[in-house]
């Protein structure tokens, strides 16, 4: 295999990841302008107009104003405008954390003002940026109602059991994301007695599986979650945190991470650090976006469609 030296190394790695995305999913993808997009599934879902469709947005980082995107609030608004323009209204939205950049009251207020314009119920889990200095206090006041511990909970919709987990609290030196024994015990009880045919969607900020430990992209006790989920025939794990799409299918479990609406991050190992990645201004909106997830009764795998803000 030859390597082109006239291009940054990150590009070739990125291509590899795109291929991984393509290979690892049941969704039909095409690559346009270097950005993977799905073909057909949106149309298919519209034509059949059945099942449950919900959206995932992630990593809004309201308050972020560095070169990688000087206006993260603006791109969040663009994402919400896309949601408002959808021909079929989704059932609800999940937000997989890092709503704000610095947990400031004004950032939470701005996020709420924009996201509420979608006129959808939003189920949140916190990212590490939402619980700075004051811990889960501010986040909990806004989004913690009816949740346990640091903000975990479950609910049912359209025949699917949804579980929101918190893996950004009480992180240990040298470690990865952390759920803790209280939350794991709660989860075990929450799943007890549930029919193995119930489709399960688990969502949390940091990937529950180990994507790239050198950058902290994984959850130390995530394996325990997967252990509890083994009996279930259809499990979908939705995460954020890494600001890019990575998908993996392992047995009955589909893992998927969503794009950010604020700024991209490099592919694992493709840069000296996972910090915000500056791309050409014209390219920014092709690496930001939202995800739409459709569940059709009788189908084991949920269809996940990632749509960039542009392109």
């Amino acid at each position: 295999m030859t390597r082109k030296h006239d291009k940054p190394e990150g590009l070739s790695r990125r291509k590899v990841l795109e291929c991984m995305t393509w290979a690892g999913t049941g969704v039909l993808w095409t690559v346009t302008g270097g950005v993977p997009r799905s073909l057909g599934l949106v149309g298919e879902a519209n034509a059949q107009a059945a099942g449950l469709t919900f959206l995932q947005i992630s990593d809004s980082h309201v308050g972020f104003d560095k070169p990688a995107n000087p206006n993260a609030l603006g791109t969040l608004e663009e994402a919400i405008n896309k949601v408002k323009a959808l021909p079929a209204k989704p059932s609800f939205m999940i937000h997989t954390g890092d709503i704000t950049h610095l947990s400031k009251v004004a950032e939470f207020d701005d996020a709420e003002r924009i996201i509420s314009q979608a006129r959808l119920d939003v189920h949140y889990v916190p990212g590490e940026h939402d619980i700075l200095d004051d811990g889960v206090k501010l986040y909990g006041e806004r989004y913690g109602r009816g949740t346990k511990g640091a903000g975990w909970y479950s609910f049912d919709a359209g025949g699917v059991h949804f579980i929101g987990l918190v893996n950004v609290v009480d992180l240990k030196a040298g470690g990865l994301g952390n759920l803790g024994s209280d939350q794991l015990e709660w989860l075990e009880n929450d799943l007890k007695g549930r029919s193995a045919s119930t489709p399960i969607v688990v969502f949390a900020h940091i990937p529950l599986w180990v994507v790239y430990p050198q950058w902290g992209w994984g959850t130390d006790d995530g394996e325990r979650v997967l252990g509890y989920l083994k009996p279930f025939g259809s499990v979908t794990v939705l995460n954020g945190h890494i600001h890019q799409i990575i998908q993996k299918v392992e047995g009955n479990v589909t893992f998927h991470t969503a794009r950010s609406t604020a700024f991209p991050q490099p592919a694992p190992g493709a840069a000296p650090s996972p910090g915000p990645m500056k791309v050409e201004d014209a390219k920014l909106r092709s690496v930001l976006g939202i995800a739409s997830i459709n569940f059709m009764p009788g189908q084991q795998r949920l269809a996940i469609v990632d749509t960039p803000l542009q392109g």
Partner: protein, 116 residues
Amino acid sequence: MLPAIFAGLLQLALLAPPSAVAEPATSEMVKIDNFTFAPQRLTVKVGTSVTWTNEDDIPHTVASTSNAFRSKVLDTDDKYSFTFATAGSFEYFCSLHPHMTGTIVVEAATGGPAAP
């Protein structure tokens, strides 16, 4: 005259930490850059003030694993200083990105007045 100076020095030594009398207070810097603490391991004398500066576009914290010190969140260019008054090895990490770890080794001051 001489005893008076001696008494004055003694008074100073009682008021201030020994290192402040023995040698000028020192300070050291740790840079937070590309999700690493640099230098990752820093050896200082007792009484040294260490200042961390966040040069990343992402906030970080400086948190001792033994709770000896803990910064507030440091946004880009924010600084945090801590003066190490006791000898020992102090492990610390970023509580947001716990794979970021560092160590400050604090050695007893030498060349100063002998310990009683």
